[in-house]
């Protein structure tokens, strides 16, 4: 059992190492970077600057750069707006946290509303709240039914 766990851990480490060593994929990068002219991702744009950026990505991949190094190089020349996804840190973290906060706030608001509606409706009327005349009629009908 211990041997099997060891093999699994080693295999996982090996696969992670292979993935890390693999060169970045140009198509993936083009889907994660934005053309400054048309403001769509590079894979959706054929603007001259987008073509230049695609060429730059290919050259840097061939030179052995990692995905992060290529992104950093483009951010240095075009600003953070070139990233399709905001950075997961600093000010960019807000873009991730705000929608999440909105979902949580919405869920809390819905919960509070449901609670307030169920309270407003109140408990069902007690049996002794029945109109005495109506109660008598019901009793008479039940007696007739029983007989």
């Amino acid at each position: 059992m211990t041997r099997l766990a060891g093999v699994v851990v080693l295999a996982t480490l090996f696969l992670a190492g292979v993935a890390a060593a693999a060169p970045p994929n140009a198509a993936d990068l083009e889907a994660e970077l934005v053309c400054p002219v048309c403001e769509t991702t590079l894979d959706q744009s054929n603007a001259p600057v987008a073509e230049r950026m695609k060429a730059f990505i290919r050259v840097r991949i061939a030179a052995g750069d990692s995905e992060q190094e290529i992104k950093d190089a483009l951010v240095a020349q075009f600003g953070t707006e070139v990233l399709a996804k905001p950075p997961e840190g600093g000010f960019g973290l807000l873009a991730w946290l705000l929608p999440l906060s909105a979902v949580v706030a919405g869920a809390v608001a819905v919960g509070l509303l449901i609670r307030s509606w169920s309270r407003r409706r109140g408990p069902p009327p007690a049996a002794d709240d029945l109109d005495p005349q109506l109660e008598r009629l019901v009793d008479e009908e039940l007696a007739r039914f029983d007989s």
């Binding site: 603007a47 600057v49 600003g79």
Partner: protein
């Protein structure tokens, strides 16, 4: 009663959407740049945000405040911007014709490859000072809303006039010449 309330709600919703469209159209038609441009064009003469940026046309850096005492025509551009290509020859002409009067045209290239920017300068035979701000941090200070934008700065470092879009038509050229005269007269 309920259907009347629904009709009113639908009417209000359609009215709000129509109002948003009108606001959008109005803002597009009256786009004259960001806050700094608006202040300048109102005659408030806001201080031009200073910067120190690497030169594109030669080694070293250029500090905007080092040009105090001269009128500066600061042009924000990028090599991929089509209107920038249209106005570049005219800005070069302004530089060549007014430099002896104490006017400096400064081209600030941003969000661009350096190599593309240099090719652009060669193609249009630009000889005025060019600086490079890849990430475009300087643009925020000028509240730039796009490329190109041009700011005329007086001898004391205050913005006299701003142009959103290319300085290309006759009207903009007359306005630029008048703004340069005003910047030189302070």
């Amino acid at each position: 009663m309920a259907s009347r309330a629904r009709l009113v709600a639908q009417g209000v919703a359609i009215g709000l959407v129509a109002l948003l469209f009108v606001l959008l159209a109005w803002s597009l038609l009256h786009d004259d740049g960001g806050d700094l441009a608006k202040q300048a064009n109102r005659g408030d003469r806001p201080t031009a945000p200073d910067f120190t940026l690497e030169r594109l046309d030669r080694d070293g850096e250029l500090e905007l405040s080092s040009l105090r005492g001269k009128a500066v025509v600061l042009n924000l551009w990028a090599s991929w911007c089509i209107p920038c290509k249209d106005e570049a020859p005219y800005l070069e002409q302004v530089w060549r014709s007014r430099r002896d009067d104490g006017v400096v045209v400064v081209g600030l290239d941003a969000k661009d490859f350096r190599s593309d920017a240099r090719r652009f300068a060669d193609r249009f035979d630009l000889t005025f000072p060019l600086v490079y701000d890849g990430p475009g941090h300087t643009l925020d200070g000028y509240n730039a809303t796009g490329f190109p934008e041009t700011f005329v700065i007086d001898r004391e470092g205050r913005v006299v006039a701003a142009f959103a879009g290319a300085v290309n038509g006759e009207e903009e050229r007359v306005r630029l010449a008048s703004a340069i005269d005003e910047a030189l007269s302070t």
